[in-house]
Amino acid sequence: MPRLMRRPPIPVGSPFQLLLLAASFALAGYAGVRLLADDWFAVAVWFVGAALLHDLVLLPLYAVADRSVVRGLGAAGRREWAMYVRVPAALSGLLLLVWFPLISGMVERRYRLGTGLSPEGFLARWLLITAVLFGASALLLALRLRRATKQRPPAVH
């Protein structure tokens, strides 16, 4: 018996939290069996896959991209410019992520038939918005640099 006692028991935790979680799982189960009623495997893949894809693919991808931008700028001694690249890139990427089916044209046929609208133009508009975002960022950076040059006391030169 003493040998079994050596390992400390797993703590149970707050009873309030346990009750709350039990109630939550019961409700999730009630809805979950209905959610999974038709094609349980595919729905489960979408549900869990959404979390995995985000946490293990999307987030690492944009984090690595961001880090390489910051490193690259740092190597050039311009680390403080990171936001001027990050903001337009992230905003443009966000628009692409949200409106990908329309921008990529993958729903062209159904869109035209369903809405009577032209499916063309989403890609062009996204590219134009992207151009404006990067252009505005470059303009801001240029203005800031100019102001900094003007304000710099002559002694520094």
């Binding site: 935790g13 209905r34 959610l35 946490d55």
Partner: protein, 407 residues
Amino acid sequence: MTRSPSSPGFWRSPLRGPRLTSVLGVVLLGGITVLFVTGLVSYAAYNPNLSPVNDKTPDKGILGFYLFSWPTDPHWLYRLNQGVHVTLGVTLIPVLLAKLWSVIPRLFALPPARSLAHALERISLLLLVGGALFEFVTGVLNIQLDYIFPGSFYTLHFYGAWVFFAAFIVHVVLKTPMALRNLRHLREEKDDLVSPRPDPPTVSRRGALWFVGGGSLLLFATTVGQSFDGLLRRTALLAPHGGADPGSGPNGFQINKTARYAGIDAAETTEDAWHLVVTGRTGTVRLSRAQLARLPLHSAALPIACVEGWSTSDQWWLGVRLRDLAALVGYDDDPPDVLVESLQRRGAFRRAALRANQVADPRSLLALYVNGEDLSPDHGFPARIIVPAAPGVLNTKWVARMTFGDL
């Protein structure tokens, strides 16, 4: 060990910390609550308890506990509800992504569980994160007509919302007190989210919040216009019903499904071929379009408001009151429910039921004309239903048959 994401030193951003997470969390608490409530309201707007043809989730059980007879006043009720649901959902995407980013170190934290309660909480977090992403992804795909999800949108989005909500409530109860405490304190407490060896900052935390807010603002600005007409619609640069209207003139406003999409053959809708069949207490009446046009005609200014979140401003419809049609088949003073059937070959709502209160409203019409002209084929020629405050798909187009009686 800083190469492993389980070690705190792996995460270098100086932005992470309880304050940032708390601000984002409180925004999501408010926003997602509104999304959940407007979602439930939209579900009720279909009157799923009225008839099996309206009900895409017949095994909902107690999840339909709150259902009520959908009203017809104010006539913009569905337009507002659904505009808020979809526009707010799109707007919250950057906040959700930022919130998930802010807590990512905890996904890899060791030990995986400190107690039984903690282990269960982490399982609950899978439902929370998976559920949130599932709801946002299915919603965003559905408004772009990209039906690649495994099943009916109504079923997935509705039951998925309840699974998510179960986990959301737990998360709110467990975390809100701490989040509010974090926001009240002026100085940040150290916790597991704060990097022990942060990189030098490239942006302040305030700047990061502006960044997330800017993303939300951009999505909002390029989406909200699809709930309005004219110049405002043109500002919705990337939203599915932004930009130009499909046509010009009286029938030029936004279309949900074109006649071609619905499989309507022009030969079926000619004056000779088409008849409206009305059935009720006293039998069946067949009416040609010309006969319908000789009945007393009434007008109503009502919008088209789609579950996808877009809507039109009020259009001026002219047609026969539904309650007058009920009176033709024996319901003189007591208009009952009605089952409306369309000529359309496809579509989940080619048959739809309206409740007695909707039939009785004097603005509820079988419209023949819109904005002073005959309906166009895409807007439902020869005749369509238009009911105040009803979701777009219940305003059946290309009506062929109406069966009055308690459903």
